[in-house]
Structure formats: structure tokens, C-alpha cells
């Protein structure tokens, strides 16, 4: 019997859906003969006593989840999400660098230093990549700090705002789609697939519209119904980042599919795995062995 630590924070436990998913994961691990302990930030010194660690809290190199991941790696303990995956996926600049390096299809993308933000540069980018453009602050998550801009005035306003949070920002060609594919990848293999249907009022999977938060609809899709090019691209993108657990967002427009982003710590509590009953068994087996 092995000891699986599940690293959570107060925010994880404040969501009924996440709590249900955590309990499901614990039940699966126990059914496989392992013991499960919830690890909170104040318990971080207990991580070396675990045989594996599964982080279920919003990851970022600047928060305590990265401390947990790094503690596990210092002590040779298998961990999802591993520190490198957190470092890469939490920073869109780093993430797109890794995808570009391995030739994974992404929309046309430019990194802009705060020193380069100018009306002339905005005109040049609209000329090169068309309108609208999408500007992303590198540590965006849940579509926060991702904005569509239509002209140089909007561009400068958003770019200057984001550059207060990061010295570099991402400028990207806009790709229109009704839904995003989400390919769940674990250890380079398909874990699950689903569609995130974009709310009509926005272009993001989550947004605030007139003061109300709107979410995308989630539809789990069985593997045989996933277009082969989407599946292949999802697996390539996952492998470009590492050997861990990723949710790869893909837009398909006509015959062309491209990766919008690769997420570590992907959501598993909104029905993404409805057609994939073995998701947690596979995660536990990946961490602790079959």
C-alpha cells in the first residue's frame, strides 16, 4: 500500500464540484489499495512522507502549489503537476516557446516586450496578422487577462495594462470557433476528450459579461468521435511540455487545427470525463504504479 498526498487549498474545498471530484479520486485510490491524505499548505513538511503527490489547486510558480511541487521533486516523489510543467504552462511565453520549438501548430504569435509597445508596432502587427488580435498576459488562467482588440487604440490600452504585470506579453492572431476541443493527455497518451462550447456573449471559455460570470458548456466526447488530426495535435502538444497531465485546448477551423494553449492541472470536475470512467485510475497508476 502506498500513500498518496492530495495537495489542496481553501479555494479547492470551497467548490462543491471540486470537492466531489476529490472524493471520487480518493475513493478510486483507496479502491486500488492506497491510502490518501489531504495535504494543506501548512502541512507542506509532510510531503516527503508521501509516495506520490497530486496537486489539486490553482498552480502557479508564485504560489504555494509550486512550493509543494518543488518539495516533492527535491525528495524524488512523483508529482502531478511537476514543477517544470507548472513553470511552462503557467507562463504563456514559455509554453508557446516550447510548442514552437517542437513545431506544434499554434496561431501566429508574437512576444512583445514592454519597450516595444507603440502605435507603430500596433499598426505593424495588425498589418501582419489581421484584425482582431488577441493579447494575453502570460500568466492568464481561466481566460482572465485575455482580450480581443480591434484597433491600435484598444491595442495600446490593453497592452500597457498587461505590461504592468509582465515585462513581456503575447500577441496572437484571432482564430474564430464555436467550440474548443480539450484533449486530456497523461504521460503522452489520451486520457479524455471533450468540447468546450464558447458562450455566445464572449470568445473565452469563462468571462464576465455585464457583471455576470458566464461559463462554457462541457461535453465529453468518446475517442472514436474525436477528429484524428485534433487527437494527434493534442498528444504532440502534451509531449512538447512533458510527461505529466495536461489539458490541451485546440481550435479547429475548416481543415486547420491549432493549439490555443496547454494547461497543467486541467479541470476534471465539470463532466470532462463522462465517457472516460478510468481517468482517476490512470492518474493514480501513473503516480504510484499499476
Amino acid at each position: 500500500m502506498s500513500r498518496l498526498g492530495m495537495f489542496v487549498d481553501r479555494k479547492t474545498l470551497s467548490s462543491a464540484e471540486q470537492l466531489t471530484a476529490l472524493i471520487h479520486c480518493r475513493d478510486v485510490a483507496e479502491m486500488l489499495g492506497h491510502s490518501v491524505e489531504f495535504i494543506f499548505p501548512v502541512d507542506i513538511h509532510r510531503i516527503p512522507q508521501m509516495d506520490a503527490l497530486f496537486i489539486r489547486a490553482r498552480t502557479d510558480p508564485m504560489n504555494v502549489t509550486y512550493v509543494a511541487a518543488r518539495m516533492a521533486s527535491f525528495h524524488g516523489i512523483p508529482v502531478i503537476d511537476d514543477p517544470r510543467s507548472i513553470q511552462v504552462c503557467s507562463d504563456k511565453i514559455n509554453m508557446y516557446c516550447q510548442l514552437m520549438k517542437r513545431g506544434v501548430a499554434i496561431p501566429r504569435t508574437v512576444f512583445l516586450s514592454r519597450h516595444e509597445i507603440s502605435p507603430g508596432k500596433a499598426d505593424e502587427l495588425f498589418g501582419d496578422m489581421g484584425s482582431p488580435l488577441v493579447i494575453k498576459e502570460p500568466s492568464t488562467s481561466f481566460s482572465l487577462r485575455v482580450e480581443k482588440v480591434h484597433d491600435a487604440t484598444e491595442f495600446l490600452k490593453v497592452a500597457r495594462r498587461f505590461s504592468k504585470l509582465s515585462d513581456w506579453i503575447v500577441v496572437q492572431q484571432f482564430v474564430e470557433s464555436v467550440y474548443d476541443w480539450r484533449i486530456g493527455v497523461l504521460g503522452g497518451e489520451l486520457l479524455y476528450a471533450c468540447k468546450y462550447t464558447i458562450p455566445t456573449a464572449t470568445f473565452k471559455i469563462q468571462a464576465s459579461v455585464n457583471g455576470h460570470v458566464v461559463y462554457c458548456d462541457v461535453l465529453s466526447v468518446p475517442p472514436e468521435e474525436v477528429p484524428p488530426d485534433v487527437l494527434t495535435l493534442g498528444l504532440e502538444a502534451g509531449k512538447a511540455i512533458g510527461d505529466g497531465l495536461y489539458g490541451v485546448d485546440i481550435k479547429k477551423s475548416g481543415d486547420h487545427a491549432c493549439v490555443i494553449e496547454v494547461n497543467d492541472n486541467p479541470s476534471l470536475e465539470s463532466g470532462e470525463d463522462a465517457h472516460y470512467p478510468l481517468v482517476y485510475q490512470k492518474i493514480v497508476a501513473h503516480l504510484l504504479g499499476a
Partner: protein, 215 residues
């Protein structure tokens, strides 16, 4: 001569110094998502050997990781813990969140100042924080480290600075060190502004950047 040397170290300027097959990145600010961080990342993506690495920079910026990495390397470090609210005082407090900097530490000794400091480092209770216990008579030193070299004549601090540089490979940093009964323990690594350096420290750093000497 002093004025000319001072003029090379320009505020916010980063210097890439190739030496023996490695590009050393000298900067006042190695923080996450800074120009320096992305310069390091660019070099790594191109496959260029660069020091410090982006991972080392992150490790150094986050106090509990910095201390655990140092402890595992055999460096004497301060005991630390993570809390949301409670902390035995006296203690040294560091934030663990987006807005925290290891240069912004808070020594606390009484309940009221502890409460106020915790409110500050946790952004009103939103985030956990790191604490290090202090004892009666403890003293906190801040020492500039330039490629592991320090201007103090104290052998204990000099040795500690060398060990910390060998581990993190960050050319310019401020070491925060706790002294207790003549013994030193590593507390954190903080950024170091060029303007905070002494004349001799500036000269040493400039010499390195200009390839005049190997430190």
C-alpha cells in the same frame, strides 16, 4: 575612474556576459516575468548554456523552496513553516504570492505588529505566508553577493555566500542571513539594486562585466 565605472551600471539594465562557454546574466531584478527572466528563458530555448537558469531564479525567489534547496545542499538555513494566520513570535515573515518579494521581509516581536504584518504579507488573509522563528539577540544581516563574493571580512558569511552562489548561480543578490550566538543561518535571497552597491562592489561587478578579471 570611479565615476566612469559607476556609469556602466545603469538602472534596470541587464548584462549578458559570455565567459568560458556560459552566458552569465547580470541584473538587478531576476523576478518572474521580468525582462531578465525572459532573457534567460530565451537563451535556454536556444540551447545556450546560461547562468542562472530560469528554474534557479524561481527557486531563489520563493523563500521556502530557496531554503529547502539550500538545506538539502548542506547549507545551514533558518527553520521555517507555512501558515495562514498563526505564528509564534518573534519571527521573520515572508509572503508567498504574486505580490511578495523576498526583499520585503517583516521581523515581528509582538501580537499587534505580528497581526498587522500577517495582514500585509497575506494580502488580508488571501494567501499563506512563510515564517522563520527568531530568538532573543538574533541579528539579521543583509549582504551583497557578487558572484558569491562579499565585501565583509567575516569568514562565516563569506563561506555562506560562496555556498549559496555555487547552488543558485545568481551573479548579483542580497543575502539575508540570521546570526545567532556567532553562528549564521541562511534566511533568503533578495534582489540587489546597483545603486545599493558600494563603490568597491560596483568596481568589482563592472570589472567582471568588462572581462577585466575573473572573480
Amino acid at each position: 575612474m570611479g565615476a566612469r565605472k559607476d556609469s556602466l551600471l545603469v538602472k534596470d539594465q541587464m548584462y549578458l556576459v559570455p565567459r568560458a562557454g556560459v552566458t552569465h546574466v547580470v541584473s538587478e531584478n531576476y523576478s518572474y516575468k521580468s525582462d531578465t527572466y525572459y532573457a534567460i528563458l530565451s537563451q535556454e530555448t536556444k540551447g545556450v548554456a546560461v547562468e542562472p537558469s530560469s528554474q534557479s531564479v524561481l527557486d531563489a525567489n520563493i523563500v521556502p523552496i530557496c531554503l529547502e534547496k539550500a538545506r538539502l545542499a548542506g547549507i545551514e538555513v533558518c527553520d521555517w513553516g507555512i501558515s495562514h494566520s498563526y505564528v509564534p513570535f518573534p519571527a521573520l515573515l515572508y509572503g508567498i504570492n504574486y505580490f511578495a518579494s523576498s526583499s520585503d521581509y517583516h521581523p515581528v516581536a509582538g501580537p499587534d505588529e505580528t497581526k498587522a504584518a500577517i495582514r500585509h504579507v497575506t494580502n488580508c488573509g488571501k494567501y499563506p505566508f512563510c515564517y522563520q522563528g527568531l530568538g532573543e539577540g538574533d541579528y539579521i544581516h543583509r549582504v551583497h553577493s557578487i558572484f558569491g563574493g562579499v565585501s565583509t571580512g567575516d569568514a562565516g558569511i563569506s563561506r555562506l555566500a560562496g555556498e549559496v552562489y555555487d547552488l543558485f548561480r545568481i551573479p548579483l543578490q542580497t543575502l539575508v542571513v540570521r546570526e545567532r550566538d556567532g553562528e549564521y543561518a541562511f534566511s533568503s535571497l533578495a534582489p540587489c539594486r546597483y545603486s545599493a552597491l558600494t563603490r568597491d562592489e560596483k568596481a568589482a561587478l563592472q570589472a567582471y562585466i568588462e572581462h577585466q578579471e575573473f572573480l
